[in-house]
Symmetry: C2
Subunit: 512 residues, 2 copies
């Protein structure tokens, strides 16, 4: 089967073909270990009895260590060198050139970091996570501060492994957004801040959203969510939806997609979260099946992934035309709550804009400002201009300045996110970049397919998902995000369509 | 932590202690990979969307291959050699001596088989399984025959890796029952056959078991099963029960036990199957926690495992005193079915003896004869005295001779079991040996603790499970089955208590 795939550039039975097959074998093993780890993590978050935790940590540690060993094996490096010629002689879009290119990028990246530093970062992340939990428990930032200091020191050591660079933050960003530069993010975020701070400040009359708060039995919400997702393309042959505490999506192959959800009886956030996770799941589901067991077989980057979840959750999932189709069913399932609520009122409630202190509760319009402030604080801390001891104050000051709100305490303030405790810096920006890309893609889709609202009103979403498959999903990690974006929308990252979209949202809320 | 454990025989900080820690590290990795595989298999049988199958096969293959590599690494062999002195100087019951001894046994065993043969056996098993499915589908043994022939040829090659031996079947048995010999099995099985064939033939008046056939909603059966298991010691912190097609138990550590069940609306087999799986689960749950991540951390053998499942399913689970406690609750949950059925009638139905063609549907008394005939056929095929082409006829002839029954067709006959398709020979006997051991243990428990019926009637089962923990479970794989049996019951494998127990069962069914 492999020979058939590589016949064109390599020649069946040639030495190069057999070396390429050896590369696929090695990369396949790494992929298997990573997907096995995904299952262990998925199970830990959805099914595992609590006392299983210590053993699970050991198992995940062992799988990660072996995957790292295989991924940095000198034999793999030598093989990738041998295959340089094959890569140079092949179309860059071809399967072979892409596997070799991305395989080498991953290899080079992993080799840069000494395994002791890698281990120390893992350890600090685990301690940092526990410190964060304790600090939240005690409502005391000081408990978390030494962990944060340690993590910043390690992040600097990590950054130093990748010298030279233009900006130290580039190194961290590269982990999540290959090819994207801090300067690009900076200019987009400056634009977002400049426009959104006054826009949010100008919203005077809050929408009545009492209809989306109340008593909504979890099982009804699940039933409804599954019906929407089925309409969007989820099926039992390749997908599952399970309960968890903090929803996420993972996959064990492009044919085994696991969404997770948490339904709360007193609001509909669980439904929107399902729509969000679906976007992540569909991306993985529609990666070219030839990429299976290669490093190409996942989304291009964190931002591109987030663009898909935001597109389905927000652009499609909070849209009038979509709800023209789905709302009658929601009314049917929850007649006491929605029987007397007009579609337009429901939709206004769903799109309400209200500044608040908590990122994960934020609406579409205020959300990016939560990200901008975190990006700025991360960069300042990394550069040394902001000491972790001063972080709570700086955090609150920016919340006030950008959103006009004050957190109730440090738990609702600077300690609200897990990210600074257990994962690396450079991840937050991808949440907002994802929203920007989502709207760029949406503009492109509708310019090509025309207004999709008529389709959505009839419950037809296949045109959109097929377009995404063709232009984005199937390419997996074959292209770096800037190149993929250029190919799809014909230009670089651009905040304008997103800002226009957000202005439209705010205008739609203005009373009749 | 390790140093503390090994302080006594090794001396903290000594070279030997550090070599022993290195052994624990290496064995721990293997254990992690094996438990990760267990989770992948568990998920495959309980949760995985069907299209996930091909990727899962690759993942399981990779984990097994890496675990095999680690388990046969020359460095591991050298380490075990270095530690011979430590083993010789330690109490054989000590943690250290046991880990080194069992670690070396596993290493030597794995090293005997060339990896090409191992891979070929895995491949033949996978093809054999598919051939078996096809043969069942078509109702044609001839489709399966070449697979069986191939598997017998490979089994002979496998056996040859372990020369010298007294009996080729010893080699296969050793995979499941370390230290047990074919001659031991032969003499126990001769005794079973001699006694049970006439006993079964003499049963004239079948018991009316219509009360255990009917309409029993699956959810009620699950609820009842969970209540029984909770009473027996299952809890949500360390156990789960999930649905599957063919029930099994697996565990990811001694603190993460996964039972599976299949409830059918028209009978109560699902409940009994839960009681069975509980026995397996409790065994793993009660292994000494110091054995975690070592090769000691599982049951001593297939027979010992089966002895536990049979003990809880049959000796306890089909017992009058147990049902005096549980039956009122079953009546409460299924009032339409059991409201008017007297406990004694229910119990007679549960213990009905009726010869049939299908092993997995067999009652306690006829069951061992299904095993004896398979053991005899396996040995004949391996020795070459019986050609696979003649297996269907030989199978039916033995069914007639031992049980007086005739299968409806080959699917109900020789093709009924999966075992000859996908696993190695030598496993079937452990099912019956397990029942024999179960009753030997039961005799011993009651001779020490006295009649447990009064406890059971009050719903108290902790005395039994604690006795099992102390004498059997906590030792894991530290002792080979014959030694463990000798320690616990003070003698070798003995069919007599089991035969007396079965005679008692038959007598209890006689009217009036």
């Amino acid at each position: 089967m492999h020979l058939q795939r590589v016949a064109a550039p390599l020649g069946s039975g040639s030495v190069a073909a057999s070396r390429f097959d050896e590369l696929l074998r090695r990369l396949g093993e790494i992929s298997d270990l990573e997907h096995a780890s995904s299952l262990l993590s998925w199970d830990m978050e959805t099914k595992m009895p609590p006392l299983g935790a210590p053993a699970r940590a050991e198992q995940l540690g062992t799988l990660a260590r072996i995957a790292h060993e295989l991924g940095t094996a000198p034999e793999l490096g030598a093989l990738l060198e041998e295959l340089r010629e094959v890569e140079a002689g092949a179309d860059p879009e071809s399967f072979e050139a892409s596997v070799i290119r991305v395989g080498r990028r991953d290899y080079d990246k992993k080799r840069r970091v000494p395994s002791e530093l890698q281990a120390e970062m893992t350890r600090a992340a685990s301690l940092g996570y526990r410190g964060w939990l304790e600090a939240r428990e005690a409502g005391d930032f000081e408990i978390f501060r030494p962990h944060l200091e340690r993590r910043i020191a390690l992040a600097r050591e990590y950054v130093a492994c990748y010298e030279p660079y233009d900006d130290p933050y580039d190194v961290l960003l590269e982990d999540h957004e290959p090819g994207m530069r801090t300067a690009d993010v900076e200019s987009v975020f400056a634009r977002l801040k400049g426009e959104l701070v006054p826009l949010v400040a100008g919203i005077e009359d809050p929408v009545d959203d009492s209809c989306v708060r109340g008593d909504f039995p979890e099982e009804r919400q699940r039933e409804f969510s599954l019906e929407v997702l089925a309409r969007w393309g989820m099926d039992d042959r390749a997908w599952r939806l399970d309960d968890t505490v903090h929803p996420f999506t993972s996959n064990m192959s492009e044919q085994d997609i696991r969404l997770t959800a948490r339904f709360n009886r007193d609001d509909l956030m669980g439904i929107l979260s399902c729509l969000h996770e679906f976007g992540h799941g569909l991306y993985e589901r529609q990666v070219d099946e030839r990429y299976f067991r290669t490093p190409l077989a996942e989304g291009a980057s964190s931002s591109f992934h987030e663009s898909q979840s935001r597109l389905w959750e927000n652009v499609v999932g909070r849209r009038l035309s979509s709800w023209r189709y789905f709302y009658p069913r929601l009314q049917e399932l929850l007649p006491g709550q929605f029987g007397d609520v007009a579609l337009e009122d429901f939709l206004r409630a769903l799109n309400r804009v209200t500044p608040g202190a908590v990122r994960v509760d934020a609406d579409e319009v205020t959300y990016p400002l939560h990200i901008v402030l975190r990006f700025e604080l991360e960069r300042e801390m990394l550069a040394g201009g902001l000491a972790p001891a001063d972080l709570p104050e700086a955090f609150d000051a920016k919340l006030r300045e950008y959103l006009g709100v004050e957190p109730a305490d440090v738990v609702e303030g600077v300690l609200q996110d897990i990210h600074w405790s257990d994962s690396n810096f450079g991840y937050f920006p991808t949440y907002a970049i994802g929203s920007v890309i989502a709207v760029q893609l949406w503009e492109r889709v509708t310019s090509e397919l025309g207004d999709l609202d008529a389709d959505f009103e009839r419950g037809e979403f296949g045109g959109l998902s097929e377009w995404l498959r063709e232009h984005v999903h199937r390419w997996g990690r074959a292209f770096e995000p800037p190149e993929l974006l250029e190919r799809v929308v014909g230009g670089p990252l651009d905040a304008e369509p997103y800002l226009a979209y957000l202005r439209g949202k705010v205008e739609a809320l203005e009373p009749g």
